[in-house]
Assembly symmetry: C2
Homo-oligomer: 212 residues x 2
């Protein structure tokens, strides 16, 4: 059975990133990397890590259409399988990412896990989710800590992939998030900071398979 | 008189970026660089360009507080003088950038120049501007194409620096934007794509000085 886990590789250390990717690649669906790692070592690290696993670039794109397009192009050229874009800067900005990055997977942020998300973003979550579906995104980033919100996004669309961060260290439970409708769990620190990352991810996969 | 111009170096080519920065540095207030350049060559290019000019990192930060903090730290460690952060992910995310990047300059995006900005961002512009002032940002990014909006931000706060992109190729007029209250004009293509970038920026400086 394909793993439901996406490893959030929130590191800046080059050697450790390569090492963790190598040993864990067979046990996860994909690896998600962000600006801290890519800024430290340049976008070419996406190409290197792609040798071990499918890579999702968590760039939370939030610029004007033309700049979003250039960033999406760089991710694509370097072999990224997926890209994460904000929906908040509007439909033209999101459309630029989709046009550039297809046939890769585009995941839209329609809600975030931190408190500040409630101030502005959350007021438009459902509206942004519908806009993003109409434009043809492949999935959403949804809060793994709030299963009731995951259910809501599941109801809006059956075909959309739901990726849930916030599992593990941040408090979300893997089985609960999956039962609420999440397709994949984004897990970082509780894997790569454990004494035995490979064993940790294997046990997580087992626990998930037994409980679904 | 100090130049009112910030050069938007929206290039990905390494040699050309260095060349333009070298010849133009004496004629601009600062140089603004973004993800296309930094992703292509790694964050260390900030350090290199800092030899010629003050550098503003246009990273439009839009992540959870902890990730914003890591990105701001990377910009600071590499010598950036200023950083541009979104306000829409909320006060905790913006505060993380401020806490990490001080005493450098933090500029908040409270409105953008593209159409999509009207869908969600613009509905909260004034609210976000007040929040950002309370937190202690140094300036805002305001639309150079809409002088009436610049006046509005000027009225909210006398001390805040207003940086206006959209001048030149995108249609904004430098003198009009400054008269409306902008402190600096962000100009890119009409300088670095001209036949003689140094002459172009000198003429712009002259025109500004004569008309203010």
């Amino acid at each position: 059975m394909e793993s439901k886990i996406i490893l959030a590789l929130d590191l800046t250390d080059y050697q450790k990133s390569i090492y963790i990717s190598k040993i864990i690649s067979g046990e996860v669906y994909a690896i998600k990397i962000g600006y801290p790692l890519v800024l430290s070592h340049g976008i070419r690290i996406v190409k290197e890590l792609s040798r071990y696993s499918k890579i999702i670039c968590d760039f939370k794109l939030a610029d004007i259409p033309n700049t979003n397009r250039i960033i999406a192009k760089l991710a694509k050229e370097n072999g990224a399988m997926g890209i994460i874009s904000h929906a908040f800067p509007g439909s033209d900005s999101l459309k630029a990412v989709i046009d550039e990055f297809k046939p890769g997977d585009i995941y839209a942020v329609v809600e975030m896990s931190h408190e500040g998300s409630l101030e502005y973003i959350q007021k438009h979550s459902m509206e942004m989710a519908r806009m993003a579906i109409d434009l043809g995104v492949d999935g959403f980033i949804v809060p793994g800590t709030r299963p009731e919100r995951i259910k809501l996004y599941r109801e809006i669309s059956g075909r959309i992939k739901l990726l849930a961060p916030g599992i593990g260290t941040q408090g979300g439970d893997p089985v609960e998030a999956l039962r609420a409708g999440a397709d994949y769990l984004i897990i970082g620190r509780s894997i790569y900071e454990s004494d035995n990352p490979l064993l940790t991810v294997k046990k997580l996969n087992e626990r998930i398979n037994e409980n679904l």
